[in-house]
Assembly symmetry: C2
Homo-oligomer: 216 residues x 2
DNA sequence: TCAAGCATACCAACCGGTATGGATGTTTGT
DNA sequence: ACAAACATCCATACCGGTTGGTATGCTTGA
């Protein structure tokens, strides 16, 4: 029975989700195993049945967050035939939407774990690096396609620009944490969008709809 | 006697410096009070004589790092009569130099603490925010001056651009932590420099010396 | 002489992790 | 078909080590 009282996969998922929620709020070290179990509604017996130790859960958390992120951007990335510049705009729209959710902080679980654990936990550092590359490669691919279709106004390296955009994104979330509001992120995204557009001739068709996805 | 065996200010400074060093390597929570004392060559008696608790030391660490940072940029910011755009370039040169130190990671203590403690420690969050603003205000002031002296090619808000640059800086250091090398930071700084220059007409005088401060 | 500065010893709380046994679903023997 | 046997799943209880923090008293400089 899939929805029976006892399902290992469900329990495991509950633990990972609980860990994500707590790590986002308190960070990795400040989140105890018992606190995760309490949030998930299980006990330590279940925890150490699914994970050898806390760090192994950390790796699962990173993968879970990355998978969630990829599905989060799927609307912008899925259509292979779409205009790549439109896809980049759609990506930025999604990011704006993520930063515009009321009463929800705009933070990245992987960014937090990378900051806290990169120097001490080599495996977690490597995992964070891999998942960072997933996002960046997707952006770089769109930039590459855009570069091929429309001749850019000036030369640029898609990969480097993608890392540049990712840095803006992570840095924005970091700086915004110290302030009450998230307009900083939205302002940065606007500049990032303009930066991307600056490589290409303005499109005559789309009248640049500006900021979308504000306040549901 | 200032250089006597016993000097409260020196001891306090040793504790703060030791804490900075350890926090940069292991993060805040993973850095124990006893470890800090060992690194500083004192005991817990000294620690809790100077700081009521660990968080109070955290605040001192933030202020220490901010002060060090400001003096770090003093060469670029001190001269009131200099050309503001040159000052911005000098600032980016210093940042490139910071990212080019061999075998030294390019990381920010305040960025790390903000990421780890912003949601749980309101006072530390506020302190990080204040020190972030110090850097940003300096950059914004230079951009403002540059905007006044030479008419920019297009309109921009100095404060928003300054936060944008700060985000790039913090995000670059964060992403670079997950990789072995720091060329990512240098590439981002190049794009940031080009972005700043894109607001102004190219200067005929300075032939744009490119990347400086590589490998001593 | 006296307070500031600091070392020593100590503590309750909490941490990640383990040992053990019971509950549950699945497979197997007949 | 049905129970026995089994492996998976998870709860309970427990543990050694570490944590931030304290109580106390010696030492040093003024």
């Amino acid at each position: 029975m899939l929805d029976g009282k006892r399902d290992a996969l469900v329990t495991r998922e509950k633990l990972v989700v609980a860990a994500v929620s707590l790590i986002l709020r308190h960070g990795y070290h400040a989140t105890g195993v018992e606190a995760i179990c309490a949030e998930a509604g299980v006990t330590k017996g279940a925890f150490f049945h699914h994970f050898q130790n806390k760090d192994e859960l950390g790796l699962a958390v990173i993968q879970w967050w990355s998978a969630m992120g990829t599905s989060f951007y799927s609307k912008a990335w899925a259509d292979e035939t779409a205009d790549p510049l439109d896809q980049l705009d759609a990506t930025l729209d999604i990011m704006e939407g993520f930063a515009s959710r009321p009463d929800e902080p705009c933070i990245c679980c992987i960014g937090m774990m990378a900051q806290e654990l990169a120097t001490t936990h080599p495996e977690i550092r490597a995992s964070c690096g891999r998942e960072f590359e997933v996002w960046t490669r997707n952006i770089a691919a769109l930039l590459q396609k855009a570069k091929e279709r429309r001749k850019p106004l000036r030369e640029f390296d898609p990969e480097q620009v993608a890392w540049f955009l990712h840095s803006i994104w992570q840095g924005s979330m970091l700086l915004a944490k110290t302030r009450g509001e998230q307009t900083l992120i939205l302002n940065n995204l606007k500049q990032a969008r303009a930066y991307v557009h600056s490589f290409f001739r303005a499109k005559p068709s789309a009248p640049h709809r500006g900021t979308k996805a504000q306040r549901r």
